[in-house]
């Protein structure tokens, strides 16, 4: 049973460009959350997708957008890249309506470097 997978592993982009990151959730999971982890910090919540819609959003500008597909996989898009967008982007999946305790499974992340 594959866990959460993300692609690509590493990515280098130039300021002003656009990037798309991909995530496949753990088998049986229907909810995907995205996090940004800057160097030396804890992950910060970007948004969450469920039933192909954005359900919750953190304090990130509209340059950050996403999508969820019918097979529950998800994409994170970032437009007009800034140097400060350089970070590790983590995808986490979970099963909606699961009982207590709540648990999200994280992928290995995509390391984005903006030059």
């Amino acid at each position: 049973d594959a866990g959460v997978t993300q692609s690509p592993t590493h990515l280098i982009k130039t300021r002003g460009q656009q990037v798309t990151l991909r995530c496949s959730p753990k088998s049986g999971h229907d909810t995907v959350s995205w996090y940004q982890q800057a160097l030396g910090q804890g992950p910060q919540f970007i948004f969450q997708y469920y039933e192909e819609e954005e359900r919750q959003r953190g304090n990130f500008p509209d340059r950050f957008s996403g999508h969820q597909f019918p097979n529950y996989s998800s994409e994170l898009n970032v437009n007009a890249l800034l140097l400060g967008d350089s970070a590790l982007y983590l995808c986490a999946s979970s099963q909606s309506g699961q009982g207590i305790p709540y648990e999200q499974y994280f992928g290995p992340g995509t390391r984005l470097t903006v030059t």
Partner: protein
């Protein structure tokens, strides 16, 4: 990832000793608290969680303590092993949300 925790607080312990990692959280309305372990090159891995109506929960070699009065959370690892070396994060889940709010991590280094 491989570069997480460059400037994080570090706890160094000898193999076999017990480790205690502390965390202060911010939202008194949070319903769940979770400890994650992040090894180099990997995403955070769930260790143990505790609900806000509890003050202690035990797992295999780990214990989480919650003090709501001072908004403090701790993770105790018994008989620390080299494989426990990683960055540890506490996270809270505010009531009526599904998002994780992570605290500042602590790097745990285990030496023989």
């Amino acid at each position: 990832g491989e570069s997480v925790g460059l400037h994080l607080p570090t706890l160094s312990v000898q193999e076999g000793d017990n480790s205690i990692i502390n965390c202060a959280y911010s939202n008194s309305a949070s319903d769940y608290f979770i400890w994650y372990k992040q090894e180099s090159g990997k995403g955070p891995q769930f260790i143990i969680d505790i609900r806000s109506n509890m003050d202690k929960r035990q797992g295999q070699r780990v214990t989480v303590l919650l003090n709501k009065t001072v908004k403090h959370l701790s993770l105790q690892i018994a008989a620390t092993q080299p494989g426990d070396s990683a960055v540890y994060f506490c996270a809270e889940i505010p009531d009526n949300t599904d998002k994780l709010i992570f605290g500042t991590g602590t790097r745990l280094q285990v030496f023989p």
